[in-house]
């Protein structure tokens, strides 16, 4: 960009050049033609100070120099402040800005250079009428319609085989059923013509829609029927003539005319323009009497005829296609029914089918956790750092943690931490990670991870417990006999007596009563739930793990070993109750005075049952209390190893032999034991219900009920046969031929 050439004296040129340089520097970032403004006072202040000149003289010199170069510096004077302003640009000249209105976007938009010709307006707006979609009527044979009771008589207007409109049949119908005007009569009343009554209007809608030759028929009929002139009397007499028999007399009073509508409605193929018969008297709506006839046609009968015609017309209308689709399992769903009704009937099937389909969606557009569904695109992703933090947090807490607690403690500052979508995202992500395990229920999403302390006893393995409690899923659960399920659901309380096995291991078999009280697992593949049992009597709480039944294995609760040993004895009655929290329950027991007794315990070190002095203050059932006085023989029970304890019949025989009363001899033993004592003693070794023990007794011939004492049984074991080893004396039996000879 070349500098402008300045005019004036050398001093003025130098001064103008310096001012131009100053103003160019001022507008260094301006556009080349953008105005750069500066006031005379500012220039004077700057240059006077720089050159140490008087301000007045300097101002005069500047003004003179810039006036001499007015092609470079435009001079303006502010009318308000009386300030002199010089304007230039980096180009060295300040062109006055003019607005270019030679072309505008608005102009180009509304006035294109090459507008479309008028003929091509169809490109923008279609002048042709779009084809209307028509639903083809479904033709149903008259035969089937009659069979289904849809019509009371065969349709006349369509051919039974093809559905085509039969002109001759139509005319025959007209002659046989329709009041026909006699055109031979010549008494003029008023010309009656019917050019405007289109047959199409009188035909069933489906016939018209099918584009059958009905229009041709109608036009033919119009042309073949000439205009007629009739009188009132002729009309009445004609009507009398065509009225079929006395069974259905169609009569009319002479002084009350036949209404036009009536005449038309009774005849679907009437070609008379009845609106053009003003002189015809109207028929009374209620009843009509024919002159000289005693027959009376009730209005109801006429309406009945109308109804028949109406049904015939309706039956020929297209039938709406059924809105039925089938689910994968074959269940038919009719969408014509209200959604609420469908949900009430098929809710479970519909939910399962939708979940299955959503899982199979290759795009995985919808994801679900429990019963909550959300879009995959909207869920919040959590990274590996998040998972590590959550795992550390759970380990720090030392027990399963609620999702809400995780969010509150780890994501309290997260802007979306309060939304349900974040909660869903957290649960969904943790559910997909192997190092996390969901142990919550509906309404309380608890998460566990590897490394947490084990809940419950390790003395009984999970596989063994599943086997020991299998009687519950085999139909020997009698827990609901004392307390009905409805009552448990209503009150939210279960009372239960604990046995020795339960007391010793802190385990409760998950029978029907507990299953009714406790929540069900939220996820289908969930195998356990962790609940918290609060003990208000001691201000303590215990974590209890619920293991749900799987297959032929029963379920149980574990984790109450410490509480049972500290506060209860076998035979105590406990009460479990729901709270407002779905995963929190209260565990209480009935207290009594402090008592002490020698009760059965298990010595881990000696691995045998012993009686020891125990103090307790819980109420117990004296029949179930394992005191040495009553069940002294129990100390002889063997702590059976796992393989033997799994054999229910083996345990039963062992209990009989140890606890039962020996009535026989040593060589021919016979044991006797009541079922109550058997139940108590059997539950020392493994859990069982009374029906289960009774089934074991009934299944083996060695057990027989005592007829004299109901509820008591005999056990007569099969004497053991001493195996005598047959010593084969090969020396005797085997000989060598050589020896003999």
């Amino acid at each position: 960009m070349s500098a402008p050439i300045f005019a004036g004296t050398p001093e003025q040129q130098a001064l103008a050049s310096e001012i131009f340089r100053l103003m160019s520097a001022q507008g260094a970032l301006f556009a080349a033609d953008a105005p750069i403004k500066q006031t005379l006072s500012n220039l004077t202040d700057f240059l006077a100070a720089q050159r140490k000149r008087e301000r007045e003289a300097m101002a005069h010199e500047i003004d003179a120099a810039l006036r001499a170069n007015d092609q470079v510096f435009a001079r303006q004077e502010d009318t308000e402040t009386r300030e002199i302003i010089y304007i230039t640009s980096r180009l060295g000249v300040y062109p006055t800005r003019r607005e270019d209105t030679s072309h505008t976007f608005k102009q180009r938009l509304y006035e294109p250079d090459e507008p479309l010709p008028v003929d091509d307006i169809s490109v923008v707006v279609s002048t042709s009428r779009p084809a209307l979609t028509t639903v083809e009527p479904v033709f149903i044979s008259d035969y089937w319609q009659q069979q289904a009771g849809m019509v009371s008589f065969p349709l006349r207007s369509t051919s039974a085989s093809t559905g085509d409109f039969d002109v001759q049949e139509l005319e025959q119908d007209r002659e046989s059923e329709v009041p026909v005007l006699d055109t031979d009569k010549d008494t003029p009343v008023e010309p009656v013509v019917s050019p405007d009554v289109a047959l199409d209007d009188l035909l069933p809608a489906d016939l018209v829609a099918q584009d059958l030759p009905a229009q041709a028929v109608s036009s033919e009929i119009r042309t073949t029927v000439p205009p007629v002139e009739i009188t009132n009397q002729e009309l009445m007499s004609d009507i009398e003539e065509v009225v079929p028999g006395p069974a259905e007399p169609l009569v009319a009073e002479a002084d009350e005319g036949i209404t036009a509508d009536r005449l038309v409605s009774e005849d679907r193929v009437d070609i008379v323009d009845v609106d053009a018969i003003p002189a015809v008297p109207a028929m009374t709506p209620s009843e009509s009497v024919v002159e000289g006839s005693d027959e009376v046609v009730q209005a109801d009968e006429i309406d009945e005829i109308d109804e028949i015609d109406k049904i015939a017309l309706e039956d020929t209308e297209p039938i709406a296609p059924p809105a039925i689709f089938t689910l994968p399992d074959g269940t038919a769903i009719d969408l014509q029914q209200p959604v609420s009704k469908l949900m009430a009937t098929h809710r479970v099937i519909l939910e399962e089918a939708l979940i299955n389909r959503i899982d199979q969606d290759p795009l995985q557009r919808i994801v679900h956790f429990g019963r909550d569904l959300y879009t995959d695109a909207d869920k919040i992703n959590l990274g590996k750092n998040d998972l590590r933090r959550i795992r550390d947090y759970i380990l720090e807490i030392g027990e399963p943690v609620l999702d809400t607690a995780i969010i509150a403690d780890l994501y309290h500052s997260h802007r979306q931490s309060t939304t349900e979508s974040f909660r869903f995202s957290l649960n969904y992500r943790l559910h997909r990670e192997k190092e996390f395990e969901f142990v919550g229920v509906a309404g309380a999403c608890l998460w566990s991870t590897r490394g947490l302390p084990f809940i419950g006893t390790k003395r009984v393995k999970a596989s063994e417990m599943g086997h020991l409690t299998s009687y519950l899923v085999e139909g020997y659960d009698d827990s609901l006999e004392q307390q009905h399920g409805a009552q448990i659901n209503e009150e939210g309380i279960v009372n239960r007596q604990i046995t020795f096995f339960e007391w010793e291991h802190g385990i409760l078999p998950l029978d029907a009563s507990l299953a009714t009280l406790l929540p069900q697992p939220l996820l289908s593949e969930q195998r356990s739930v962790v609940l918290r049992f609060d003990v208000p009597q001691h201000y303590t709480s215990y974590l209890v793990e619920v293991r749900y039944p799987t297959g032929n294995r029963g379920g149980w609760l574990q984790g109450l070993e410490d509480f049972f040993h500290e506060h209860l004895v076998a035979g105590a009655i406990i009460k479990l109750a729901r709270t407002e929290e779905p995963h929190v329950f209260t565990l209480t027991y009935e207290e009594s005075g402090v008592r002490s007794d020698r009760l059965l315990t298990f010595d881990d070190k000696k691995n045998k049952f012993v009686f020891a002095n125990l103090s307790y203050e819980c109420a117990v059932d004296s029949e179930q209390l394992l005191s040495q006085r009553k069940f002294g023989k129990l100390k002889n029970l063997k702590a059976l190893p796992t393989p033997d304890r799994r054999k229910a019949d083996f345990v039963l025989a062992h209990v009989f032999e140890v606890v039962g009363e020996q009535l026989g001899t040593r060589n021919d033993p016979l044991y006797w034991l009541s079922l109550d004592d058997l139940y108590v003693a059997y539950n020392v070794l493994r859990p069982a219900s009374r029906p289960y023990i009774e089934s074991l007794l009934a299944a083996d011939a060695m057990y027989a009920p005592d007829e004299a004492t109901p509820g008591a049984y005999y056990y007569k074991p099969v004497p053991e046969v001493e195996e005598i080893e047959e010593e084969e004396d090969t020396d005797v039996l085997v000989y060598d031929d050589d020896d003999e000879y």
Binding site: F325, P328, I333, E420
Partner: protein, 49 residues
Amino acid sequence: MDARSIIYGETALDKLVQWLRATGEPQDLEVVVQRYLEILRELVVEEQP
């Protein structure tokens, strides 16, 4: 739309996704099934002449 051509869980699933996104938060399975039936019903019943 002919109801017989409906594949439950596949037909109009995009509309269900659209509705689910519009709600802005996870929905219970029962509510989703109910809404899905309404969508199918709109497709079939209300399009009939």
